[in-house]
Point group: C2
Chain length 282, copies 2
């Protein structure tokens, strides 16, 4: 999907958070923010939001020399998720429909998104997660279940650190050959290999990097290995708004699991902000 002018405040907000993590000197930070603002003034709004964010965060990394400004934030939310997950695993273990409840948990975990909200607190995450199994799920779960059960190979595209811990129970329930893909390089709080290992995903699936530094899945940026898996998998499951924004027009069926977090996505999907969505584009 294309970006809109309404994406600008959010992109600048992201830049302010990223620079507050990566610059100690306020004058250097101001200089970097001015450069980002100039970049946005001339940006191509026909590109997707994650393409714009990719270019912005490349510029910010070049200005600051800090490769991974969100490392501390990612560690904090991984730790929080690992602290919270046992109680959710217990619910899924006792559930009459573990796959459904694991999907609910994975979507609820998508609340941990520094791209959509600055200064997300641990209390906010805990409150949102406590409603994981009560929040209405928008989408055709029965059709999703049938796809899962019929798939011999599944590619699961993760979104953010912390969130990836809550993907664990769902990934463990998927049948056949399951590969979990993470971003190739740090960008915002998106999960990389390090986070997948922290979340223990390697005990349930193969993990690969997508080879890209975008907060979404821009196929033109991804590695050949990733693209080959993406094209050949029986089912692709993609978490989060960034993957939806970059893959909703990609031509092959993808099942998207995400929480609607911004007015632009709400407008595009016709779903209210806050909706827990399971969308399939076929």
């Amino acid at each position: 999907m294309k970006s809109t002018l309404e994406c600008i405040p959010c992109l600048i907000r992201q830049s302010l958070e990223a620079t507050s993590c990566s610059f100690k000197d306020e004058a250097l930070r101001e200089n970097a923010v001015r450069k980002v603002t100039r970049l946005i003034a001339d940006i191509d709004f026909r590109s997707t939001p994650p393409e714009m964010a990719r270019d912005i965060h490349r510029l910010l990394r070049a200005e600051s020399g800090v490769a991974d400004p969100y490392r501390q934030i990612k560690d904090r939310f991984n730790a929080l998720a690992l602290k919270l997950i046992p109680r959710f695993r217990a619910v899924i273990r006792e559930s009459a429909d573990p796959l459904l409840d694991a999907v609910r948990l994975a979507i609820a975990g998508n609340v941990i998104d520094s791209g959509a909200k600055t200064s997300l607190s641990e209390d906010e995450v805990e409150t949102a997660m406590d409603r994981a199994f009560e929040t209405e799920l928008h989408g055709d779960f029965d059709s999703f279940r049938a796809k899962v059960l019929n798939a011999d190979s599944i590619l699961y595209l993760t979104d953010n650190a912390g969130e990836i811990v809550f993907d664990g129970p769902l990934i463990e329930l998927l049948p056949g050959n399951v590969t979990v893909a993470v971003r190739g390089f740090p960008v915002i709080n998106d999960a990389t290999i390090e986070d997948a290992l922290t979340a223990g995903i390697d005990s349930a699936a193969d993990i690969i990097s997508n080879g890209s530094d975008a907060p979404g899945t821009i196929l033109a940026d991804c590695s050949e290995e990733f693209i080959s898996l993406f094209q050949s998998a029986d089912l692709v499951i993609a978490k989060g708004q960034g993957n939806y924004e970059t893959l909703s027009d990609c031509g092959r069926p993808v099942s998207f699991l995400f929480k609607v977090k911004c007015p632009v996505i709400a407008d595009h999907t016709g779903l209210k902000p806050g909706t827990h969505a399971l969308l399939s584009d076929n």
Copy 2:
């Protein structure tokens, strides 16, 4: 007070709302937003937020040719406030401390601020106003009461359309010579003479324009008549964040009545967002 980098997303958000009101052609709107974004990239952050907003809205008016993009929004909130005010007047009439309750009402009315929030709904305003008399008032009301009772001349600086209706009961209770000042020209949803007349303020006080097109009180921009009153009044009461941002360092005592609505003001005042504040800078 000076601006901060954190003001940028808010200034762009304001521009998006203003241009959605003033441009029918999306390409022309995009061009105007790109120009604003470039202006912000080079702006002087030592200026106050209303100085930056003044320059941005001047540029937007020049681009669109629309002098008053918020006219419909202002009319809508004036009408809502006029519909709601009888029940609040009844409370103040029966109150054991009418001045205190009129101050509470005036501060609660400061929720009607298109500068601080895009797409403010009538429901949000009504919900906020219903809590007008319950919300804790931060500040030294007894000292404010003494200043009011000792003043022979009071200058009351209004903030927004709609809100100005809720200033009415307080203005009516002020003793001595009371002059109410509004913005000289339309900017965002700030009240001008037209709104003061719609609110019926002319039955209780003299009304003057401050001569400026800024969403605050930039003395260097104001008319001689206004500056003379500002310097000579026994008491100046100023509504809203914009007046606080421009007058908190002005050198003469001012009593500020406003609702804390953004993290920058929260940081500057040490008060949480949502606080109903009565601050005196002497």
